[in-house]
């Protein structure tokens, strides 16, 4: 029985969302609750209000022009305060080409990152973004794209044998080995991955119209996302 859910639209404490910022500017965003319903994993209205410039986007990524070089990474922690989500650094300053990663600490409160710009949001992964998930239960995850791109993949997670303290130690040491899945134009490479419980897969989108990494059991029956009529326009905008 799998009790672990794979869905990039709904960030849990075993997930992270990462975004590279390639152009200078000020990128405002908010953190919204997610996961109330599998077919509408992210409260789309809340995201749209953020896109319209609502004051509900209290956090900022300031991107300055930088010299080409090694990518720097900033990790931000999301936690719940009362009924709201807060980020440990409300404003971060980075250089172009750098990456910001968000992760949560509360197992009970899944969330989504919702930026004002179309490309910036965990509900839909576009160019230069990523999503990681640590698999915490054995089983087979057939996953797809909730937005209907046809992207598919499989993650098989098996139970380690932990008969002794030595086994536990060996297992723990294996957990630091991550697996990279690259998504380009709705094709995952590798499409199939084998892990043991506790290991992490980092899904990185190098190019694409905006996809999710979602257990097929959570996909809407039509395979066409959440039925939002603006989807096509949004895909086009992201692609442009």
């Amino acid at each position: 029985m799998i009790t672990d859910q794979l869905d990039s639209r709904v960030l849990r404490f075993t997930d992270s969302y990462a975004q590279r910022f390639m152009r200078p500017g000020t990128y405002r965003y908010g953190v919204v609750a997610a996961g109330a319903h599998p077919a509408k994993a992210v409260p789309v209205e809340a995201v749209r209000s953020l896109h319209r410039g609502s004051a509900a986007a209290p956090f900022t990524v300031q991107v300055e022009e930088g010299e080409a070089g090694a990518m720097a990474q900033t990790v931000l922690t999301v936690r719940r305060e009362g009924t709201r989500f807060v980020v440990d650094q409300p404003t971060v300053r980075i250089r172009t080409g750098d990456m910001v990663m968000w992760h949560g600490t509360d197992a009970s409160w899944p969330f989504a990152i919702a930026g004002e710009k179309e490309f910036f949001g965990s509900d839909r992964l576009v160019n230069e973004s990523g999503f990681s998930h640590a698999f915490t239960a054995a089983g087979t995850h057939e996953w797809g794209d909730a937005y209907g791109s046809g992207l598919r993949g499989t993650v098989r997670v098996r139970q380690p044998r932990l008969g002794s303290a030595k086994d536990v130690e060996a297992w723990q040491s294996r957990l630091s080995a991550g697996t990279l899945v690259t998504i380009t134009d709705a094709v995952a490479e590798p499409a199939e991955v084998d892990l043991v419980v506790g290991q992490t897969v980092f899904f990185v989108v190098t190019r694409g119209p905006g996809v999710s990494v979602t257990d097929v059991d959570l996909l809407p029956p039509t395979g066409k996302g959440d039925g939002d009529e603006d989807d096509e326009a949004r895909v086009a905008a992201a692609a442009s």
Partner: protein, 268 residues
């Protein structure tokens, strides 16, 4: 010399007690009790389902053998998984993205939660009890009752191992949702079951179930002290009533039988 004497032998007594046991309502209790090293809230119900056989022993004992009681116990066990499993974390994971560089996820600490484990145990117990005979006059009614004496020794139908297996299955089901519990599930279940152990189960069940039997009163006979033996037949023929002045009950050996004998003194 009493004016009224009634007697029943052991065969009749068994028949009567079968009827009496069937008429006793289910009993229930709730509270909290220690369950091995844990404290568990419980709600218990019990029903006497069979009195077995009755042995009348002079001068005042009614021995009921193989008295059967069906019981159900619902437990809510609060279990802190962290008490049994080591601290676990998913370390920082780094992957190399070609043409981009290394990306590292943050370390994830697994905080083992405290879970509530619902445990439902159902079984029966059998026991042999000795009833004393109690005769009381309460609110104008004579009552003769068999009252369970002492603390019976309960014999469970299921083996303790089977009940511990039920506990283990309940623990496994209750923690299945906990992230990363899978590799540790067998270890956790074994540790919890071992911690509870046979002593924990008997220590829980005995004090909860024993009161359902200990002190149980079987109503053998009830009669208003003042009662009509002939109804009124007219204005000049009033009802005839008598008063039960005293009632006594004892077990007598009247060869070849042992009998439960009720005797009454009456007055008009």
């Amino acid at each position: 010399m009493p004016e009224i004497i009634a007697a029943i032998d052991e065969g009749a007594a068994t028949t009567i007690f079968t009827t009496l046991a069937a008429g006793l309502p289910p009993q229930s209790s709730s509270g909290s009790s220690s369950f091995g090293p844990f404290t568990a809230a419980y709600a218990a119900t019990a029903t006497l389902s069979s009195p077995g056989t009755v042995d009348l022993i002079p001068p005042g004992t009614i021995r009921v053998a193989d008295l059967r009681m069906d019981w159900h116990l619902h437990l809510s066990l609060s279990l802190d998984i962290g008490d049994f499993l080591p601290d676990i974390h998913i370390p920082q994971v780094c992957v190399h993205i070609p043409c981009v560089g290394d990306v590292c996820t943050p370390k994830i600490d697994i905080v083992w939660p405290t879970v509530t484990v619902p445990i439902d145990l159902s079984d029966y117990v059998k026991t042999t009890v000795d009833l004393g005979i109690a005769v009381t006059l309460v609110a104008g009614t004579w009552k003769v009752e068999g009252v369970v004496q002492g603390v019976p020794n309960l014999q469970f139908g299921l083996t303790t191992a089977a009940m511990l297996a039920v506990v283990g299955a309940a623990v496994a089901a209750a923690v299945a949702w906990v992230p990363l519990i899978g590799p540790f599930l067998a270890v956790l279940v074994a540790a919890v079951v071992a911690a509870i152990g046979v002593a924990g189960l008997t220590g829980l069940l005995d004090p909860i179930l024993t009161p359902f039997i200990s002190g149980t009163r079987f109503p053998v006979y009830a009669q208003p002290q003042l009662f009509t033996v002939l109804p009124a037949a007219g204005a000049n023929d009033p009802a005839v009533t008598i008063t039960l002045d005293t009632i006594a009950a004892e077990v007598q050996h009247n060869p070849p039988e042992d009998e439960l004998v009720l005797s009454a003194d009456i007055s008009a």
